[in-house]
Structures are given as C-alpha cells and as structure tokens.
Symmetry: C2
Subunit: 96 residues, 2 copies
Amino acid sequence: MHETIKHESMFTAIADIQRRKILNILKRSEMSVAEIKSHFEFSGATLSHHLNILKNAELVRVRRQGQQRIYTLNLSVVEELLLIFNQIFVSKEDEK
Amino acid sequence: MHETIKHESMFTAIADIQRRKILNILKRSEMSVAEIKSHFEFSGATLSHHLNILKNAELVRVRRQGQQRIYTLNLSVVEELLLIFNQIFVSKEDEK
DNA sequence: CATATATTTAGATTATCATCTAAATATCAC
DNA sequence: GTGATATTTAGATGATAATCTAAATATATG
C-alpha cells in the first residue's frame, strides 16, 4: 500500500495546470525553451522551474542544441503513468 | 487550450498521496468514515478535509446510514479522468 | 431528554509551491 | 575575448494546502 517516490513526483508534476499545458504542447513536437515560452505569460525563470519538475518526474527529456535546449515529451513515461493510474484507481490489483 | 474548473479539481484531488490511498482503498468496497480512518494515522478532521476535496471533484459519493456516512468511489468519474488524461498527454487531439 | 457515537466545521499553524527579479552560466559570432 | 542570446540558479514573497485541537452538529439509544 505504499507508493514509490517516482510516482509521487509524477502526480505532483501533473497537478499544476501550466505543466499540463506544457506537456500538451510538447505532444505535437519537441521544442526549445523559447518556443515553449511563447505559449505562456510567465517569466523564463518560472518556465525553467516547471521544466525542471517535469524533468525530475521524467515526463520530459532535454538535449542541448547550441545555445538552446530542446525538450521532448517522454512518451514511455506518460504511458507508464496511465498504467499506474489504472492500477491505483481502477484495476482490482492493489497499487504495487 | 483551456481546461474546465472541474478538471482542475480532479487533478488537485489526486495530487495528494493520502487522497490517492483513500481512492485506492475505496476501489475494493464502499466504507464508512471510521473504516477509512482505520487505514490512516491522521486525525478525523484531516480525513474529513480530504474526503471533502474528493467529493468536490466528484471522485467519491456519500450517503448517510444512521450516524455513519458511507463513501463510495465514483467509477464513472474515475474513467472520465482516464479519458482526459489520455486526451491531454497522448491523443493527437488538443485538450478540449 | 441525556448521553454516547460519528462526522464535520472553525480557526490556527506550518510547510509547500508558483511566481518574480536579479544574477550567473553557457554558447555563439564577430 | 567581448558582446549578444538562451537558459538556469538564487533568493524573496505571497498564495495554497495539509494538518492539528477544540467545538459544533447530527443521529442513536436508554
């Protein structure tokens, strides 16, 4: 009946609407921080903070490209999250 | 690219590990507050607070039975949440 | 109706979180 | 290497949220 730290970080990550919007945007294609930023009103520092939380939850990956950093949705972890979700709330098995 | 208030309350509701545990417990069968409480360490007031948040998100339903209140998992809303999940993070459609 | 039981509500406290500005770091182009 | 651009880090602030104790409400029972 306990939950790994990893699960915890995923649920925390998707709790915020701005971060869900970031994931939603990245669903279409990978993007630099500046491109992501163009969709929002808040500061670069705030965006960096959100990206860091998503990264820690492994929901996104980053790679360097010159001065830019390109963020990508980590689809396998998103799918894992869906499974966990199903396991906690729907399936007859206990949360493992 | 916006989200209803209802979605917001659902994501907030499942962000807390105690509330996810409550949902996980209710998956097996409906329960009185006292029964739910036996699974946790925190005070009754705290449990009541969590149940209220789950109720506002419509993830659980309550009915009276004498002095007790019986909480039930609202399966249709849990399923709805799974769909929203898929829509935001996986499917090619935008979040509606 | 008085007392016991079940649960919620009120109000306070502490911790966590989203956001900001300013400064730091890294890379590129000249 | 100097200046410009991209992004992150540090530190502060205000808002939200989790929890507690004490008090209130509702129901049941003798």
